[in-house]
Symmetry: C2
Subunit: 136 residues, 2 copies
Amino acid sequence: MNLSKTSKYAFRVLGQMAKNEKELYSAQQLHKEIDVPERYLRRLLTDLSKYGFIKSIQGRQGGFAFARDISKIFLIEIVVAIDGLDSIDGCILGYDSCAFDHACPMHNIWEETKRKVIETLTKTSLKDIQNAGLKL
Amino acid sequence: MNLSKTSKYAFRVLGQMAKNEKELYSAQQLHKEIDVPERYLRRLLTDLSKYGFIKSIQGRQGGFAFARDISKIFLIEIVVAIDGLDSIDGCILGYDSCAFDHACPMHNIWEETKRKVIETLTKTSLKDIQNAGLKL
DNA sequence: ATTAAATGCCACTTGCATGTAGTATTTTAC
DNA sequence: GTAAAATACTACATGCAAGTGGCATTTAAT
Ligand code: SF4
Ligand code: SF4
């Protein structure tokens, strides 16, 4: 049950960009709007474009814009791309691989909660969090 | 939304100890039963005794036993002691302090899920996870 | 008394996520 | 064509959680 700081940064950036879906945002501009270190943000944006959420346009007047419809980009995809599904779905006791034939007591107790977390991340799109993550 | 590896270790250890509530467990014995590095486990057990979940008995034939009724030790207490409440309850966008007068879009979306997580940790006691966390 | 088996304390090491720096590349403005 | 403003790449630095090691202390068995 882990969400890396980087994933949280991604939520902020993409939430901010979702404010105007078509706009081309530069890293510098985004850095001013949300509170993420500029160089780190640049690398993150490059990564996000490799993951296919956004596209990058190089050169002067360049920047980043969405590569897909923001109503069809769901938070779970972002988390999976950055942290991997196991960060959310993995064993709550931290075992890498579980060899129980039958689930241990903790498993069933946690199952429903885990499902809720995944469900929320799965059904929430960037459209739903437009304008989330403004700098304080 | 973070649960440290150490908290997960604590779930394993205490879940294992809850198997026989009254038994006195040595670190070495527990190390054999669950998969946690021995030295790290010893430190964790000492910490857990400082937090008041268990008590330590020094000297030969010493070990650790519960200091309180296991049906009244709830997982949330363990997480709060080790990671702090903010690890669960903190801003999902990673802001240290949020200055929004009105909650941002993400806040309300996440609220219910967060509540579910906290509720599950709050209502689950060590009694409920007896024998959880056996070594593979 | 001596030894053995346990916890307690403190400092160090390691691994990994986060953050920074330098430089190359791309494209536009003039 | 040159400079400016943007992204791309790669290597290095930093900070913190996780893990290890040495030795002191406590207590029971002998
Ligand atoms: S059964 Fe228990 S140990 Fe196995 S994956 Fe589920 S919670 Fe983890
Ligand atoms: S309102 Fe938004 S930024 Fe503020 S604490 Fe809630 S999720 Fe975080």
